[in-house]
Every structure is written in C-alpha cells, then in structure tokens.
Symmetry: D2
Subunit: 426 residues, 4 copies
Amino acid sequence: MASIGEKTNLDVFKQHESEVRSYCRSFPTIFTKAQGYKLWDGEGNEFIDFFAGAGALNYGHNHPKMKEKLMAYIESDGVTHGLDMATTAKEEFIEKLQSTILSPRNMEYKVMFPGPTGTNSVESALKLARKVTGRETVMSFTNAFHGMTLGSLSITGNQSKRHGAGVSLHNTVVMPYDNFIDNQTDSVQYIERFLEDKGSGVSKPAAIILETVQGEGGINVSSFDWLKRLEALCKKLEIFLIVDDIQAGVGRTGPFFSFEPAGIKPDIICLSKSIGGYGLPFALTLIKPEHDIWDPGEHNGTFRGNNLAFVTATEALSFWEDDTLTNEVNKKGEKVQEFLKSLAEKYPKLNGSVRGRGLMQGLVCDVDGLADAICCSAFEKGLILETAGIDDQVIKVMPPLNIDDKALDEGLAILEESIKEVLKNK
Amino acid sequence: MASIGEKTNLDVFKQHESEVRSYCRSFPTIFTKAQGYKLWDGEGNEFIDFFAGAGALNYGHNHPKMKEKLMAYIESDGVTHGLDMATTAKEEFIEKLQSTILSPRNMEYKVMFPGPTGTNSVESALKLARKVTGRETVMSFTNAFHGMTLGSLSITGNQSKRHGAGVSLHNTVVMPYDNFIDNQTDSVQYIERFLEDKGSGVSKPAAIILETVQGEGGINVSSFDWLKRLEALCKKLEIFLIVDDIQAGVGRTGPFFSFEPAGIKPDIICLSKSIGGYGLPFALTLIKPEHDIWDPGEHNGTFRGNNLAFVTATEALSFWEDDTLTNEVNKKGEKVQEFLKSLAEKYPKLNGSVRGRGLMQGLVCDVDGLADAICCSAFEKGLILETAGIDDQVIKVMPPLNIDDKALDEGLAILEESIKEVLKNK
Amino acid sequence: MASIGEKTNLDVFKQHESEVRSYCRSFPTIFTKAQGYKLWDGEGNEFIDFFAGAGALNYGHNHPKMKEKLMAYIESDGVTHGLDMATTAKEEFIEKLQSTILSPRNMEYKVMFPGPTGTNSVESALKLARKVTGRETVMSFTNAFHGMTLGSLSITGNQSKRHGAGVSLHNTVVMPYDNFIDNQTDSVQYIERFLEDKGSGVSKPAAIILETVQGEGGINVSSFDWLKRLEALCKKLEIFLIVDDIQAGVGRTGPFFSFEPAGIKPDIICLSKSIGGYGLPFALTLIKPEHDIWDPGEHNGTFRGNNLAFVTATEALSFWEDDTLTNEVNKKGEKVQEFLKSLAEKYPKLNGSVRGRGLMQGLVCDVDGLADAICCSAFEKGLILETAGIDDQVIKVMPPLNIDDKALDEGLAILEESIKEVLKNK
Amino acid sequence: MASIGEKTNLDVFKQHESEVRSYCRSFPTIFTKAQGYKLWDGEGNEFIDFFAGAGALNYGHNHPKMKEKLMAYIESDGVTHGLDMATTAKEEFIEKLQSTILSPRNMEYKVMFPGPTGTNSVESALKLARKVTGRETVMSFTNAFHGMTLGSLSITGNQSKRHGAGVSLHNTVVMPYDNFIDNQTDSVQYIERFLEDKGSGVSKPAAIILETVQGEGGINVSSFDWLKRLEALCKKLEIFLIVDDIQAGVGRTGPFFSFEPAGIKPDIICLSKSIGGYGLPFALTLIKPEHDIWDPGEHNGTFRGNNLAFVTATEALSFWEDDTLTNEVNKKGEKVQEFLKSLAEKYPKLNGSVRGRGLMQGLVCDVDGLADAICCSAFEKGLILETAGIDDQVIKVMPPLNIDDKALDEGLAILEESIKEVLKNK
C-alpha cells in the first residue's frame, strides 16, 4: 500500500485552493466514501480513522440510523434553512436534549444556537460572561485552543495562530494549566494569589474558560480535583466558569460531558463537533438560566438553525439513554492507554510518555519531528492519525467511540508498525 | 388566517431556548415544510417567503435538483465530514467555481474555505489583509454589518451589537458610506483627505471593507462610480479592497458578484449565504493569488469542508452558465421597485422612500415602529418579510430570485394590504 | 553674524545625549543667558526670541518681578518640594487664580495639579471624563497635538509621533477640525450625523477634546461659531467638552482663555506652559465642580506641587488684573498678521498664506522645505523661529506677549531678510 | 503638640482644589518652610521628615550648597526655560553625570531628557524598547508602580489606580515579583516556562520592567540573585531589561543605582525624583548607545530641559564622588531595620514584620488600618511618615539620606511612641 496518494492527482487543490489548506497535505489523497471508522479514496484504498474529524465524528462516519433520518427529512422537504425560526426539527432536538442529557443530570440550562461552529459558541460565551458580570478580562490557560475568530483567538495559546490575528489580542490573561509549570506548583493557588492581591495587576475576570482535556494543546489532562477547586474559586469570587467541551465533550472522555466526574456545574458550556452526530456544522451554548440575559438577536448569524443537523443530532442523543457508550469508551480508553504505554516502554527511542482520558489519548514523543513521521508512515499503511501539541509532538489517538475491538486492534497494530519503520530508518 | 400562531405551542422554545432567539419571535409559528418560495407551518398555514433566509435562499427552499444530488450523495455514503481533506465533492465544486464563475469573468482568485459562515470568511479576510500589508487598522463604513465574532464585530456599525462585545473594539476606523452625510458630500474625497494628511490621526489601513449594498444596515446602495473611485484610491495607496458579498452576492442584485457592473476587482471577496445553494452552512474567501501567503492551517476550523454543501453549491452554480437568472433578477427587481415606489406615493403616511438594486429592495418608512407593524401584519396574512436598518425602519423585500411572477404579485399585494390595515389602525 | 554656531562645540551633546534631542539641532549653539525677548549664547551672539519656549514664555525669559519673588522664596527656605502637601505658596496661587481669573469670568472650577507638564493635565482630563461618563471613547481632531504619553498620544494626529508609541492606540475617534476637509463641509454637522445614527459605528464619546488654535498642527484656527456649535452639541448629548488651552491659553491669542470670545464654558480646561509664568514645569486641570468626583490620590505623581512655580505663577497672574495685556496682544497680533500677509503677497514664490489669532500667527509656505530653510536662515541672523504643521510648512511667529514694538519690528525685518535670502538662493 | 492642624485653616484647599488631593489630607497643615530633614508649618510646629518627598528629597530639603548654586544661576539670568536647546547648565550636568556616575562604573549610556517626571521617563523607555525590538508586549510585576499616564499605568499593579484609566489597559503581561506567590516558587523559572513554550499564550515581550525594591507596592525587596537571573533570561531571549530606579535609585538603598550590587547592566534605566537634588521636576532615561535609535523629536515635551534642575542636579552629583554617602546609608539602614525589628518583636499586636534595603525600610503591620493610624498619630507628634502597600499596611521609613543620627533616633522614638499610643487605644 506504499503507493497511497501516488497516483492521486491533487492538481485542482494545488492550483485553486488557498495555501491555508492543511489536512489535505497530511493525508494527500482524494477521499470518496466513508462509513463508520472507515474511509476510502479514489484509488480504492481503505483507511481506518483514528482522527474522527478532530473529534467531530464520535459516532463514526455516516451512521446508518442518522443517515436514514436525515434522508427522510430531506425527502419530505422539511425546512433546511430558516435562520432561527421555530421548526419541528429544532423543537425535537431541544426536547431530546432536555430529556436525555440535561434532566437526568439535574442540569438546568438554557440552550443557545450561536452559529454552527465551535468558535461561534466560544464567542457567544465570552460575550455573555462579559455582559452579565460587567467585566472585560477573560482568564484562559496555557496551550488552550478555542478557535480562530478574534475573540476565541484571544484566549488561544498557540503563538503562531495568535500572530495570525495581525493585531494584538486584548482583554485576556493567561494562567498556567494544571501541571504546566512542573508537577508541584499548584496553579489554582497561584491564580488565587493573583486574584486576592489588589495590587497584582490582574483584575477580577468576567470568566475563566478551560478545556478539561486540551485537545490541540497536546492532550493535556487536568485532574478532577483541580477542576473542583477552580470551580470553588470561581464561585467564591463570582467569576463565570466556562467549559469549552467542544472536543472533549459528547462522550469523548467517557461521560457525555467531560467534567461530570469532577462534579462541577459550569456557568456556560460550549458544545460543537460531535453534538451534531453526523459531522454537520452545529454548535450549542448552554447557559445557566439566571445568566440568560441576552437581548433578542444580540448575537446572531445566518446559520444558527442548521435543521439537517438538528435531525442527526436528535438521533445521536439516543446513544445517551443509558450508560452503554460511556462504559464502552472507558474500556476502550484503558485498552488504548495501556497499549500506548507499552509502546513507550518497548521503544525507548520514542522518548515517549502517555496521557489522556477515555478515547482521547496521546503518545508524546519527545523527539523533534518524530510524531509527524510516524503519522505519515501510518497514513501510508492505511491509518489516519493526527498530531497535537505546540511542537506536533503528540500522536493523538481518537477513533470513533463506537469502533469495534477488531478495528481498534488493527489500527493500534498499524501504529506500532509505523513506529518500528520510522525508528528503523532513523 | 388571523389565527396564525394562535394555536401554536411555542413552549419548548420559550422554556428551553435562550432569550437571544429572534426570528422565531417575529414569525411565531412552528414551520414544518418548505419548497421554493413557500413555507408551511404545523397548523397548515402556507406562507410566501420574501425573506429568503436573509439572503441565504436565493434559489428558494429545497430546490429539487440540488435535493436530488444531495440525497444521492448521502445515499452513497460520500464523505460528509472530513475537515479540509480532499474529497471528490470538494474537487468538483472548486472546478465548477473556476469554470462557471471565475474563468468567464477573467477573475484569477484562490479559494479558501474559512469555516462555514459569513463571519468566518470576514475574519479570514481581515487576518490576511493585515498579514500581507503588515498594517493593523481596517477601514469600514457606517451601517456596515459583517458578523458577530469579535473581528467582524469590530467593523460592524450597529451600536447595540457592538456593545454586545462587552469589550471595546479596536484597530478599525469608520468612514461615511456613500450618501451617509447627505447627498452632496463626497465620501471618497473625504477618505482621501484623511489618508493624504499625515497629521490626520488616521493611519493607512490594511484594508477597506464594504458591502456594495448594505443589507442589515438598511438597503443602502452605493453607486458604481463610488466603488470605482474607492478601488482607485485603494490601488494608489496599496490598501486592500475587500468586498463582503455575503448578502448582496450570488445574484441577489442581478450579476453573480454585486460589484461586476462597477468593473472592480477586489483583493479579497467574502461569500457565504446563497453560495451553498440549499441553505447549508458554507462560506468562501476568494483571494488574489499574489496575496495567498497563508501558512498551512494558520486559520483553521472543524467545519471548513462541508461536503453536503459542496454538492448543493456545485449544482447551484449551474444557474450561472448563462445570463438567464441575472436578466430575471433585473426584470423582477424593477417591478418590485416600481411597486414600492407606487406604495410610497399612494400612502403618504408611510413617509416612505424606496432604495435597492435587483431583488434587494427596501421600502423605508420614516415613522417609528411602522415598518415592524407592517411586517407583523403581513405575517398574519401569510407573507414573510423582515425589516432592516438601525431603527428597523426599512421593509426588506428579498424573495427567492427564481420566484414566479404570480407569487411575486401575490406577495406584493399582501404587502399593500398590510400597509392599508396598519395605517387604518393608526 | 553668519558665524553663529560655527565656533560652538556641541560635542558633549552629540556624544552623550540621546538622538531624540531636537531643538538643539535647529538652534545649534549653547545658550548662556536670557532676558525678556532676548537670548545670548556663549559666543556673545544675541537672539530675538519669536519662539518663546513653544508658548511657555508668554511673559518672556526671566521676568524681573517673578525673578525677585522666586529668589526671595528660595532665600527664605520656603518649601520647594512637598508633593501635594499644603503650602503657603500653593495657597496663594489658588487664591490668586480664583480672584484674578476665575471669579471675574464667572467661572466656577476646581483646580487640580495633575503633575507639572501638559501631558499630565491631558491624561488627567481624559481619565476624569471617562470616569464621570462611564464611556471609553474620546473624540479628537485632525492635526491635534496633546502630548507624548500614551493617553495623550492616542488623541494626537501626527502619524510619526503616533507610530512612536510602538503599540496601536485605542479608544479614540478622530474627526475633521474646522476647515479640514475644505472650506465648505461643516464638520460639526458631520460629527452630529455620526453621533445621531446608532448604526454609524461611532459610539457616544466620553469627551470631545480640542485646541481652539492648533499649535503644533500648523496654526489652524477654529472659528468661534464652530466652537459654540460644538459646545451646544456636547451639551445636548452630555459629552464632556475639554479645551486643551496649553499653548493657546494664558493670553497667547489675546484673552486669558483662548475660548472666551466664543462664550463657551468647557467641562475641563487643561493649562500648562505659560501658566507657570517663568518657564518652570507646571500644569493645571480646571474642572467644573460637579465633575470633581476623583478619589483622593486616584491620579497622583511626585511633582504635582512645584512650589517654585506656584510663586512665579502667582506673580504672573498680576498681568491679568486688567485688560492691558489682552489689548496689547490684539494690537501686536494684527500687526504681525498684516506683515505676514504683505510678505505672502510680495513673495509669490512662497506660495504663502497666513493664519492665526493674537500672537499665535503662522505663515504657511506651500513649498517643500521652504519654511525650514527660512527659519534656519533667520537663526543665523539672530532670530529664533520654529516651524509647525505636519510637513513643517508653517513659520510660527510667537514672540513673548510683552515684547516691545521695536523688537517686534526688528524680528519681522529679519524674517523678511531671511525669506529674501532663501528665495534668492533657490 | 496634639493641636497640630487644629487651628490651621485649610478652607482654600477644600473649596478650590480638586478632591484628588491626597497628602494634604494625611498631613493637614500648611507648611511654610523646610530645611534638611525638617519642615515647619504656619503654626510654628516643627516636623521631622521621614517621608522625603516620597524619595524625591534624598539630600533633604533645600540643601544649602544647591540653594547657593540655584540662586546664583537665577540671579545671573541663566536660561530657565529653553525646551531642549543646548545650555551651559545642561552641558555641565551631562558632563558631571558622565564623570561622576557613569564612567567610574563602566556604564556606557546615552542620556535622554524625556520630560521632567518619572512617568515621562517610563513612557519613553517603553516606546524605545518597543521600537528597537518591534514587539508590543511589556512584562511587568505584581505590585509594581510606574506612573499615572496611560503607558506607565498599564504596567502598574494597583487595581484602583488602573481602574482610574477608564479604559482597559493593553499590551502588558504581569508576572509574580520575587517572593510574590510564596517563599518557595521561583518566579524566574516561572517566567522562563511561559516564554519557552510557544503555546503558552505569552509572546516574547519587548521588555521586562522592574523596580529592585518596590516603593509604593509595599517595600518589596527582590534578591540580587533574582535580578541576576532575570538579566540572564533577558539576554538569552533578547528582551530589554528596564530598571525603574526612580524611587530606589540615587542612593536610597545605598549605592547610586539600586541594582549595582547585583552586577547587572539594564538596557534602559529610568531616573527621576532625587536625581534633581533639590526636589525640582526632573527625569532622565539612560539608554545603552546601541539602542538609541530615536528619531529627533520622536518623543518630545515642553519641559524636557528644566535648567534650574540641571543646576541643582549637577551640584547633587558631588555627593557621589566617593563612597561616603553609600556607607552612611548602609549604616543608617541597618540601624533603622534593627529598630523596626525590635518594634515588631516588642509589640506583637502589630502582627509586624520588617523588610527593606538601605534607607528604604518598611514595617509591615498586618492589621487592618493600623499602619495608617500610627502614621496619623506620628504626624501629631511631629513626624512625617507615609504608608505603602496595596492595603496601606506598610509604614515606610524613608528619611533624607543625610539625616543626622540624633534626628534619626528622635524620629524612631516618635514612631515607637505612636505605636504605643495607637495600640493602647485599640
């Protein structure tokens, strides 16, 4: 299969698409079809997908049940586009979200449709936190990733993406994520010290925003204790706690919301990616009712009501009527983690370590360029894998949650083969 | 039909959706089905759509040909989500855009997929203009509307939406749109005066961004001469000219690009809304090749490659293989404008005036609350109409471009009835 | 006297002083002594001073009466430095300011000592206007000059000085000064149009700040009618009117406050330069009592109470016990203006025009580099003259107000000689 | 002496001076005369000055030698005001600074006169660091105090002073000062961690600015080791190191520059307060020659050349021709520190601790309002003392450096009496 991409003619993209294109460079072939954990290209190659649309395909590609509902809706001329007008598709989604997700967890939240992408949700969360508190600063964390529009970018850590703004980014203050400095310094205490001293130069922020597991930042995992103490600090000082659960949520780390095991209740929750179920553009902002002081249309947008996504999202929520999926993720997550740990041990040249939660696992390779080379080799062997971290030093293992054991084993085996090959050629 | 919405139970929305919801308040019923220029609600009411998804439905709802292609693609398990990986759906779209739109117009542009909404496109345009020029300021116009994320909001005029940012908005300078001050002051000369005097306090901007016809701002129409002179100024001073053609483009004012009759070639063009054809989230940024200096992934996002939208967008471009649609729009546009002018004359209490281009027409009612009341009355009579302008003083007439004459007449008749009714009750 | 500066050894300055030094380049000699309108250098050259410390020496150098008071105070060990502690010198100044200046004009103002320079006063004015109104934006004018610290710089027009900030400058909006665009466009109406339209993108500012005659900006004179209408607009919209009277005040244009003939009462007045009388660092901020809501020490600084300056400033106010000085300034101002006009007529190669008020007069030479060359030649002939305007195109005639007629004539004669010489060599 | 201030009529100040006045509230009497470490008021009360103009009077009030030179200069009509024209007074100062201070220390620096106050110097330093590096961010420390104009305020920690800006303050990032978090966390390592991780969200700053001993911030002392390591970090990363030595410099902590014992050479040094010697407004910015890339006049101001201050400053530098003063300060500093420590031990109700260096000593009283009460009581007993720290919790002991032993003892005795009295009444 060394010939993958070889025959593929990517000229149309090279000639006409902007240089900003990225994944089509890592995976240089033209894909034609997808199903579950599999993708096929025009040359007939089959790929196992350990990338899952960067977390947008927790249920795999083109899930048959969602597909059925989607086609029926389109067939019947259900409203496709209607801005944020009320439709039956939307009504059903809202009801299912309440009955399946929020009510069983005793979570009282209003749902906002802020536009169909994660960054829309983050921008809406920042606006609302600032509006309710009347404060301007938002506190974020090292290596956070929240999106590419100017507000979200201002709380994103990646230096080259920040630089891309072309202007300086304001009204934010960055604090060390759990374990950022070293394994001893307690970053919650650190934050508290800054906030309690009125001469620190850090004013009380409108909100603290975080990912419980940082995806793009390199699969950095915060402890439940850290989250709990951060929530307590926020409560004490009346600071909004915003959890950006766009990548870590919707079961990726096990539970529906990644923060459930910490027992916290954020003031605002951002969801996107897999909430739509089928990979369609879709995002939600969940808001504690007492904070829902928006004026009508104060934040708006053309694609707030993606009705096709309502249909697939509603169907997707059926996965959460019991604990089956969560249990599955936990089990598979352990398996993946153990396997990665064994790789780190077996191949000391990786200078490897493992971190992650659920099916959001990372193999850190502390050797320049190594992780990239392994992913590249894996692609040629039929496995799609992405790197993460500021130096692309982490191999991110994120298969669809419902991948079967056989495929999971197969993918992991390809990963090991790729490691062997790359290390051999070093 | 006075009972529209009466029996409708909107409780789910009222209880669980955020207060930010807006159009579902203007059109208080639950829609179930849509086709062409028609919408139906759950009570069996039928509506003529003069709103067209705020310009996202130039081909009407659920166009049969696009629907067919869309269903076939889904049926065949074509890739739905794949971030910005290369797919056949994407390849076909890029080729069709080149062959149908760009090549025939001698327009050499690279296409960027900045995320699936208009504001993503605008944010990407601002970033790129700043990157290429190394300057920070962007010049925009009074009553402009470019989106709700922080970068786009900074160049949007609406005060209450700006206020919603919760932070002050920087690196922008606002200039008077054509005819903003009065009908004599020449705003291009004004801008030039500021830019030529090194003591003016206005530094040379990275870009000037504009809509040729301002949609949300109140159907303000700039003259082709004004556009031409602005382009000349930009060229002279090496300032980027960015046209946000999100609402006015894709035939809404007649030609595919709204600026074609002015004979200008912007450095960057933002497209969204109707470019997807079927109302699916989709956006493009067109970039002159010499400016395409993005680093791979410098601007990214999860939903850059909405393959379902590629499919419908490709089909939609078929409308542009000849001038039929443009001619139709011009003809219908004239008809609408004449009708609106006759209303303004016939009903002096409207304190009315008319402005617009193509099928983007506005009836300005200079009486507080009047336009809103008329749209409200129209809804009860089965016509969906939106207001625009900072004081909601403009009735915006924006039917699907391919609406038939009979329906157009019918809709206009309802508008007149609504005016009569409202004026009678005053 | 063509040898001025020739023998002077400026090595100490060249070797050890920063490249930022400026006037010592225009006037390349070492001054040793000064009296009234005269300066002497170490080579025994005598100079007539038409520069007057850029407006800081309205009473000339080392006025004998102030000198006497100053020496007596120092001799008696009066408090020199005491931060803002109460001293008799300060008490006497405050009383004299009330009795001589404020009471006779029915001006009720609190006096603040914001630090001893103009920019301190401007920064304090901006802070207070923002505090009282709760708004952030400050509106300033093209070609304004308010100082070099970051707040004052943000409302200064000069592009290269702004660039010197090294960061982008925020929370300000610049409007056209009287006659900036052309002689027809009414800039008050223009501002009003922006402020009345809630979609203009210009939010209501905390304050409008202006100089009635722009000094550094090129002796641009605003009409009393323009000032009156601007004050009316500010009152209507509850915007602070701040007059920066640092250069134009203290009699420079005739009356003590430059805005008196316009009949306006600004909310805040900034004074510095000649208010100290003797050229010592000193500044005031005058505040309408109802706006004086500072917390103690909210704005502070080490040199708020320059007691030596209190002593000379108190003495200087004696000049204002009657109209003598104002009348003198008006008379001399007319004379200067007429003379400059005659020059403009007589020497068409100057491409000259004249503008100014009182003893703040400018001869605009619309030929590149000409004004500079003339001032340079004048210096060699024993006359100290500065240029102003963004292109150094204006010869600024600003002698001490109490210069005698003979010296004034002599200086003007040197100016004409210099013009002749420069034009001859062209 | 309990009657101090009782008979004093402060009406003029209360009626006519702004509410922003501060020290005249702490020391409510009208001062008439000052000499050395003594002040007298109009009621004939005599005060020992442990405040020394917040560090501006290191040589005491009205030093006889400086007074003599000053009077002779004024008498001879030496140039008082001349903007930044070359004068003999200025030339002599520059030469003396080179020969007495810079050359003996092998310090090659250009001297800039940025305007006559500390904040002018800080603003000029920030501008230059940004200009040379092309970067925007400046890193400052918790509890820093650098001035009240917008640039300096942006790097000042005090929350209420920051709030006074009325706008949000940008382009700065605050880091923990030595010992800010606790006594274990190493803040240099912390800073390094942020700067080395390209995903930290903290970009490489133009400069790091610091006080070696924070005055207003509460007499916080950084260790020489910390300074050394910070300088090393700055060198490694090509970041400017700016030392604001406005309060701690000019011998206050012993050596002329407070950082000398650390063996560092900052890129820029800010001096003001005591550099003028006599308490006149004066400030310097010292710049390493390779960074002196200012354009002429790029930073300017009316009072850059305070010639009276040149005269006294030149005389004041005579103190630094040998080590006498440094040795004296060290000796007296030890004495003061020991005495304060004994007070902290003797009066446990103070909840006291002591910190400081040289004659910049602080007695921290960790009881709400206590330090203020003690200073208030001391004033009534004839001792002038200021508090520092964000909660005014530190009694700042800062007598003139040349105070004699008897007066020092006397002052300390009054301090103890005041403590006794206040604690008794608790």
